[in-house]
């Protein structure tokens, strides 16, 4: 069954979209990430124009994050104060990101920017996570309790603030910077940025792991929501029909994914996720490095 997407102006199979949403939903339920980093490249692959994929991806992440946040609010594992500080940075970052996106679009380099961002960030995060979880797995086998570093350079910065839920007393500068960079990425890559936010909160801000995901989801909702409206008003690239189909599959998949995730060990999950991230990264890197079969690309003029 084909469906014509009014904004993307392509006709795609409904079941492919539902399946895609479901697959990404399963992964996001298993690993606690938004899954945008997989969704956006997969949308390119089925022929959705990159600009539409990025903007619609942001819209779809709003839905999956709201769904996730509800569960975390109930368990009181959201640091609203930290979330708000991250959000301030995030909104500034998202606005900057959309401006940058439109500027590079006018230069004809937006696809390159999106791909480079994916390769660089997925590569770094994937590699770090892989090494870290491999070490954790080895340690847990040997029975050494995991140790958390208590103090680093982050604690020397001014403008300190108390975050009760996280049990932290730190400067607001690092969370704002983290929020800012994730905001830029959300606008450029059509991702929530959970895969950057979560490690940054754990390793850079030393937040307790149990509040990290809820807090990250809280701020992602606002940043991706803001990005959606920005893309809708400046680029006209949010396809609501596409978003709805993806999120139907996504919410169902997320429930199945959560059930699968509970059966696996945390370290094993992280290694699997790292492998997946590196796989996507490798595929995108090859596209940039290998000689393309078609050297020419068409783009609508007027953006020139």
């Amino acid at each position: 069954m084909q469906i014509y997407l009014p904004i993307a102006e392509v006709s795609v199979n409904v079941f492919v979209l539902l399946g895609l949403g479901g697959l990404v939903g399963i992964l996001s339920g298993m690993f606690g990430v938004g899954g945008g980093f997989l969704m956006t490249p997969l949308l390119f692959f089925i022929g959705v124009p990159p600009a539409v994929a990025v903007a619609t991806g942001a819209n779809q992440i709003v839905a999956s994050s709201v769904s996730g946040l509800m569960a975390h609010l109930k368990r009181r594992t959201v640091d609203l104060r930290m979330g708000t500080v991250l959000l301030i940075g995030g909104l500034i970052g998202a606005a900057l990101g959309v401006v940058l996106f439109n500027y590079l679009k006018s230069l004809g380099q937006v696809d390159l920017l999106i791909n480079l961002c994916y390769v660089v960030f997925l590569g770094i995060i994937g590699a770090l996570m892989f090494v870290e979880s491999l070490n954790a797995l080895r340690k847990s086998r040997r029975g050494v309790p995991p140790k958390r570093k208590k103090h680093n350079w982050v604690h020397a910065l001014p403008i300190k603030m108390r975050f009760r839920t996280s049990g932290l007393y730190i400067s607001v500068i690092p969370p704002i910077m983290v929020g800012l960079s994730v905001g830029v990425l959300a606008a450029i890559m059509g991702v929530g940025g959970g895969f950057i936010m979560v490690p940054a909160m754990i390793y850079l801000l030393n937040m307790p792991t149990k509040v990290v995901i809820g807090t990250s989801l809280f701020q992602i909702i606002f940043v991706t929501g803001f990005t959606t409206v920005m893309h809708a008003t400046t680029n006209y690239t949010v396809d609501v029909v596409l978003a709805v189909l993806l999120l139907i599959g996504g919410v169902l998949g997320a429930q199945a994914g959560t059930a699968i995730g509970m059966r696996l060990k945390a370290e094993q999950l992280r290694i699997l996720l790292a492998g997946l991230v590196l796989l996507v990264c490798g595929k995108l890197a090859l596209d940039l490095l290998l000689t393309p079969s078609e050297l020419y690309v068409l783009s609508p003029a007027g953006s020139h």
């Binding site: 102006e9 509800m70 569960a71 809708a232 006209y236 609501v240 919410v251 020419y296 068409l298 003029a301």
Partner: protein, 251 residues
């Protein structure tokens, strides 16, 4: 049946020169939610006063989409990776172009006639100024044709127009699912010995309807409201799903 009716119609008319009487299976293509491409049957008859000549009559049917400017980028390796390096602006290229002929291309029209009437695909694309730093601007226009032919939006369908008794002709043009809105000028040329002896022009209207029309207009005319609506749907869906699953589990 339709062809028969047309034939009767033609015979009844007082004939002058050789002229086209045309019918279309549909004059409006509606892009609805389940739009999956469309086949248009183009049929017609030739009315004439003189007896049929020895030399066979050939028919060319050309359907074009709206003319749009296109930026063509060529990739080049910079710092080890492939980036968009050179750009040429093609002033006007139809978003869709299909030509159906009644015989192989070389037999239906001469080069000069093609140049005059702008029938073939390369002639339908207009490209004037290329930047000074791009010496081979021609290869950019060729790229447009190559890419769009691969996509199925440019089609050269030789030998697909059936001509009966040098009087009736019909062909089918299949339009792909990724159509742009607008009016599609449709031209019919009658040729003999490669020369155009008569031509006829009409338009096929392609437009979005229903939900597609509504969403598209909203996104262009009220982008802010459209953005908020998308956001609202997303939040409602996320909230609804988590509530639904909670109720489902507690039972």
């Amino acid at each position: 049946m339709r062809l028969l009716l047309l034939l009767l119609l033609v015979l009844a008319l007082p004939a002058r020169a050789e002229q086209v009487v045309l019918g279309l299976s549909k004059e409006i293509v509606q892009i609805s939610t389940d739009f999956d491409g469309s086949d248009i049957l183009i049929f017609g008859a030739i009315k004439r006063e003189a007896p049929i000549q020895e030399e066979p009559l050939q028919v060319i049917v050309a359907v074009a989409g709206p003319q749009q400017p296109v930026t063509v980028w060529r990739k080049a390796r910079r710092f080890g990776i492939w980036v968009n390096a050179h750009a040429v602006e093609v002033d006007a290229a139809p978003s869709f172009y299909a030509i159906a002929t009644s015989a192989p291309w070389a037999q239906v029209i001469t080069e000069t006639e093609d140049l005059r009437h702008k029938v073939s695909i390369p002639r339908a694309i207009r490209s004037v100024g290329a930047p000074m730093d791009v010496p081979d601007a021609q290869s950019f226009t060729e790229a447009v044709i190559r890419i769009r032919t691969d996509e199925g939006t440019y089609q050269l369908l030789e030998d697909t127009v059936t001509v009966r008794e040098q009087t009736l002709f019909d062909t089918a043009i299949s339009m792909p699912a990724n159509l742009t809105e607008g009016s599609y000028p449709t031209r019919i040329f009658l040729t003999r010995g490669g020369r155009v002896i008569s031509s006829y022009e009409t338009e096929i209207e392609v437009r979005k309807v229903g939900l597609e029309r509504w969403l598209y207009s909203l996104s262009r005319q009220q982008p802010f409201i459209y953005g908020l609506m998308s956001l609202f749907i997303a939040i409602a869906a996320g909230w609804g799903a988590s509530t639904a699953f909670r109720i489902l589990r507690s039972q």
